[in-house]
Amino acid sequence: MIEVTDLSKRFGDKVAVDHLSFKIQPGKVTGFLGPNGAGKSTTMRLILGLDHPNSGSATIDGKRYAELAAPLRTVGALLEAKSVHSGRSARNHLLFLAQTQGLPASRVDGVLELVGLRDVAGKRTGGFSLGMSQRLGVAAAMLGNPQVLLLDEPVNGLDPEGVLWIRNLMKHLASEGRTILVSSHLMNEMAVTADHLIVIGRGKLLADAATEEVIARGSGQSVRVRTPDPDRLTALITAEGGTAIPAANGNGGINGTAGPGSQATVLTVTGVTAARIGELAAASSIVLHELTPQLASLEDAFLELTAGSLEYGHLDAQPADWSSE
């Protein structure tokens, strides 16, 4: 279990982490969510003892990171920032880490196998793709078979195959009873990966709840429907007590525009479940080209939670503002 208590960190007069307290429970994937600059990476670095807090403490199974005798056997970490010498081979990078923990060299081959890098183990890491580098980072994190894992933006820049792989690995590791904390600014990724969410903004805790709860707290579920017969469907939905809004300006640009040659219109429906919409359409023989419960509702919840706590940019840039385009 990771326990963060009243943790604060300033850089000069800028407060990066502001009296943060939370507990991360074992056996599930906990998402650590926040806009860029919210203090996610700093919090992780404080937990890992790389930065020194101005106040408060962070413990792992009751111990500060620096008190762990062989830390990689307790905690594995994948940091967003690069931490590999480009001239060193993947095997040697893992080998020196294994040696610091008194782990046998055979364990290096084990984790290389686990992440699928065995064939390039002797290659210098400078030539690695982003995906391979992330896999090497995961290998380093898994080296000591730790019960606690901290992953900072692990899917950043990965191709779909890599994203799926990381997602399944995290779920599998959590199912083994491990404690998994994974940070991201991608709400949709967290919606399908995390069981529990810690949301922070400007270093402050905004939410600490189960993922479904955070979503439920938001603007409610919406469903994306694409149909060549929007008027009839809208009437049916309205009769059912829901609202359907043409979403040509919907989720920003590409998503809102129908495919080439298609006359279909995209509707954003709230107040009616996807299943019910399907039933209504079937009963009236209305053709549907798409019927998708929107994971973007987590995005909405997230934007609502973090409103006013963005480090850069402004939140006014919401889809509605793009309608003139």
């Binding site: 890992l48 003892g49 790389l50 930065d51 020194h52 990171y65 620096a66 762990l68 005798a69 062989a70 830390p71 990689l72 056997r73 905690v75 970490a77 940091l79 690069k82 931490s83 590999v84 010498h85 001239g87 060193r88 040697n92 990078h93 080998l95 020196f96 880490l97 040696q99 610091t100 923990q101 008194g102 782990l103 046998p104 364990r107 084990g110 984790v111 196998e113 686990l114 992440v115 699928g116 890098l117 064939d119 390039v120 793709s129 995906g131 391979m132 380093a140 898994m142 000591g144 078979n145 191709d159 195959e161 890599g162 799926l164 792989w165 399944n168 690995l169 599998h172 590791l173 083994e176």
Partner: protein, 284 residues
């Protein structure tokens, strides 16, 4: 290989039986040895160190021997004849020591420039043992190699100069100077490592080290000849340390050979202590 490796994913691999073990200082040294040997810059700088030091010793000795009765005979008398052993070492070490300064700095600054320091400190969160293991491993590597180079330089230089000024290891102070040359280079490398740990940027740390080793003695040498400035000059790390590989004592020399080496060691120890203090305090 250009394509991403296949997403082979074996849950079984996440449940290994790891031997229980509590890592000690030996494990940390082994890890530091893996780090040092697994990057090319180490082999390259050490190769340059050996070639430059022994090569220049041979070159300068050969030039001197070939022009023994030339127009520069007076210089020859004050340098080579006054202290042939000091001449042999001075020729190669003058430039060879710069490669050691570079390597000493790189051993720690590349950890910062590449970000490996984060991996290192995650593995060894108590920072003093990490630095101590690095100093120990680099020190051991250096002392072995520097002694080989010191004895190699001596045999090459003395062989070339033999017909003009015969010197041998059995001469007074010769063995001390030869062993001392290797020790000087070793401690200088550790001093460079300490500067690297303090400054954390490769270019800045190399400039600083070379400034201290090469430029500072020249500048203080220009100062007026009085007791204060003479002491200042004599206690500079390079000026003091280099006494250990000379045989002849200049008149008015403030430090003996071993005292001078001791001064270099004190400089290095103070800088390493400062580096440890800052390593513990700074965010990585």
């Amino acid at each position: 290989m250009t394509s991403a490796p296949t997403a082979s994913y074996s849950p079984a691999g996440t449940q290994p039986d790891l031997p229980p073990s509590r890592p000690g200082f030996g494990h940390l040294m082994l890890a530091e040895w893996t780090k040092i040997r697994s990057v090319r810059s180490t082999a390259w700088t050490l190769f340059l160190f050996v070639v430059i030091t022994i090569g220049l010793t041979a070159l300068f000795s050969w030039i001197s021997a070939a022009n023994w009765t030339g127009p520069h005979a007076a210089d020859r008398d004050t340098t080579i004849l006054a202290d042939p052993v000091g001449f042999i070492f001075g020729a190669g070490i003058g430039l060879g020591q710069l490669t050691i300064c570079v390597l000493g700095v790189l051993v720690i600054t590349t950890e910062y420039s590449t970000g490996v320091i984060r991996a290192s400190l995650l593995a060894v969160p108590r920072r003093f043992p990490m630095l101590a293991a690095k100093v120990a491993v680099f020190g051991l590597l250096m002392v072995v190699l520097a002694e080989i180079v010191a004895f190699g330089s001596f045999f090459v230089g003395s062989k070339i100069l033999h017909s003009h000024v015969p010197v041998s290891l059995s001469g007074t102070g010769v063995l001390r100077a030869t062993v001392g040359a290797g020790l000087y280079l070793t401690v200088l490398g550790l001093l460079a490592l300490a500067v690297g740990a303090l400054i954390r940027h490769t270019a800045g740390a190399i400039s600083t080290t070379i400034g201290v080793v090469l430029i500072l003695p020249i500048l203080t040498g220009l100062l007026p000849d009085n007791s204060f400035y003479n002491h200042l000059n004599a206690y500079l790390p390079q000026q003091a340390g280099s006494l250990v590989y000379a045989v002849h004592q200049n008149s008015g020399q403030l430090l003996s050979a071993w005292e001078g080496f001791g001064v270099l060691c004190v400089w290095t120890a103070v800088l390493l202590a400062a580096a440890t203090y800052l390593l513990n305090r700074r965010d990585a």
